[in-house]
């Protein structure tokens, strides 16, 4: 327990954490027992719905009755079959779309204000680098837009390049890099202004399994270091479990939160050893059961992906 607390800087957040006791799941809602909406929460989503209207006038209910609170410093994975509204939920938090109903706050502000105040960093499924800019210039883009001095930009991009292990590629162009390296540049860019909230939509989706596991460990390391809250969209169960404090399982048509699984993997930083941990397998099984709609307990097989 104390181990997990190390990853949660805000006192209030660790309070809610302790109250959960041994209950590992809270079906149907992303709420903790304490309904705190204080400033320590990174994201508070209340009864949010999103209905898309297509050009032909048809409507798609992408999200319905979503309640979710992400504490400061907490890592939350969103998982579910494609089309269940994971990206939509993340885009609502990022204010790239607006909810049809319900309210949504980020660090106590409206999503729009939070975006204007640059409260979050974001990484998409596609790296989304600007191909005519060097790796360095891509990482410095947020700093450039927000008026940082040349010296500050250079110092920060050097730091970030080292962090994501691309120190030698500063002056390369994105298309000279592999997919995994491009994604690392995109992650470095999302970290540029040291945001307290990171939004990541399947950032490792396009990577091969080896690179993927490596990147997961790297991200875990970065998160332990920066203490940022993370909303991480994925459709890989082991990835969700390995990284997250809580895994939010969603179901499609309409997009809803089906269950929330607490992952109890102990100590501060997550390392590859934990992939062999019994708790890891237990959580993986639990998430899978929720995803498949069966709730048989005690199934604890060897994970094969």
């Amino acid at each position: 327990m104390t181990a997990i607390e190390n990853r949660v800087p805000a006192a209030q957040a660790s309070d809610t954490r302790n109250q959960t006791g041994e209950t590992m799941t809270q079906p149907l809602t992303g709420e903790r027992e304490s309904q705190s909406t204080g400033g320590s929460d990174a994201v508070v989503v209340r009864d949010v719905g999103k209905i898309f209207t297509t050009k032909k006038g048809a409507t798609v209910t992408a999200l319905e009755n979503i309640d979710l609170t992400v504490a400061a410093g907490e890592f939350v994975s969103l998982i579910g079959p494609s089309g269940c509204g994971k990206s939509t939920l993340m885009r609502l938090i990022a204010d790239l779309d607006t909810p049809t109903s319900g309210t949504l706050t980020v660090f106590g502000k409206t999503a729009k204000q939070a975006r204007l105040d640059q409260e979050y960093g974001i990484a998409f499924q596609q790296a989304g680098l600007l191909p005519w800019r060097t790796v360095r210039a891509n990482i410095e883009l947020p700093l450039e837009l927000h008026g940082f001095s040349k010296a500050a930009r250079t110092a920060r991009s050097r730091e970030l390049l080292l962090l994501v292990g691309l120190g030698d590629f500063a002056d390369n162009y994105p298309d000279q890099l592999s997919g995994g390296m491009q994604q690392r540049v995109a992650i470095a860019r999302s970290l540029a202004e040291s945001p307290n909230l990171l939004l990541m939509d399947e950032p490792f989706g396009a990577l091969d399994e080896m690179t993927r596991e490596h990147m997961q460990a790297e991200l875990a390391h970065i998160c332990a270091e920066t203490q940022a809250a993370v909303v991480f969209v994925t459709h890989s169960i082991p990835e969700a479990v390995f990284l997250a404090d809580r895994v939010v399982v969603m179901s499609p048509r309409p997009g809803r939160i089906q269950a929330v699984v607490d992952v109890k993997l102990g100590a501060g930083e997550r390392t590859d050893d934990l992939r062999e941990d019994d708790q890891f397998f237990a959580s993986v099984s639990e998430v899978r059961e929720h995803l498949h709609g069966t709730h048989a307990t005690g199934v604890r097989g060897v994970e094969n992906r």
Partner: protein, 256 residues
């Protein structure tokens, strides 16, 4: 290195083809004893060209300047209007009709009207004809380029709370640049063609178009062909210059 190799590899076949056709042309004129007023031989055109090089040169300068000014004017107007149309839906819809019309109207047909609007001693009408011819491909291609912005880039700029101008400068313009240059490349030789043909319809003495009609009216066909050769070279120079500019500017750009 690879680009140079590719270019020389790409240039060789057309050069060979050109030399081959010239040889056939020369042989045909000699063997069938074709009269110069029908088709003069390449050698006699070449002779006229070098004999009258000074006048070909001075006329080329007049037409070249008209083409260049028209090219710049059409380029600026085309890019600016494309920028506006990309931002304002209504202007885009309005201009679609105008551009469709501009593509159907042979622009040089406007030359006589324009000569009437300006003093006959001025080059203005010729420059305007060239500018109009340039405007269409530049506008169409630039507007298309401005629409190529990837959704992920748009989302990124929004997430970074970038303003309209910042987004235009950092993402939209660089995305559109290759398309703009395609438009410019097409427009460059069109500018010369338009400027030459506009001279057929009047305006002051001077310029390759005027020189061609004058030589032809004096039945000096090899000389007329020498001026035609001059305008071909001028058009080619414009084309190569815009292509060089494109290579230079897009050097640091993505697709290499």
């Amino acid at each position: 290195m690879r680009a140079a190799f590719g270019a020389s590899k790409g240039l060789l076949p057309p050069i060979l083809l050109g030399v081959f056709s010239l040889a056939i042309w020369q042989a045909a004129v000699v063997w069938f004893n074709i009269k110069p007023f029908i088709v003069p031989s390449p050698l006699s055109i070449g002779a006229q060209f070098s004999e009258n090089f000074a006048t070909v040169w001075s006329n080329s300068m007049v037409t070249g300047l008209n083409s260049l000014l028209g090219l710049l004017l059409g380029l600026v107007i085309g890019v600016c209007l494309a920028l506006i149309a990309a931002m304002v839906r209504a202007i885009d819809e309005l201009s679609a009709a105008v551009v469709a019309a501009a593509m159907v109207i042979p622009i040089v047909a406007l030359a006589p009207v324009l000569y009437g609007m300006f003093s006959a001693a001025e080059q203005t009408a010729r420059i305007l004809v060239a500018a109009l011819a340039v405007f269409v491909p530049v506008y169409v291609n630039t507007l298309k380029g401005l629409r190529q912005v990837k959704p992920v880039h748009r989302d990124l700029m929004r997430a970074l709370a970038a303003g309209t101008w910042e987004t235009t400068r950092i993402v939209t313009l660089p995305t559109a640049l290759p398309f703009l240059f395609t438009g410019l490349r097409i427009a460059s030789s069109l500018a010369v063609i338009a400027a030459v043909i506009a001279e057929y319809f009047g305006g002051p003495i001077g310029g390759l178009g005027k020189a061609i009609t004058t030589a032809a009216s004096q039945s000096n066909y090899p000389l007329a062909w020498a001026y035609v050769l001059g305008s071909i070279i001028l058009g080619l120079l414009f084309y190569l210059a815009s292509m060089g500019l494109e290579k230079l500017v897009l050097k640091g750009n993505s697709s290499r």
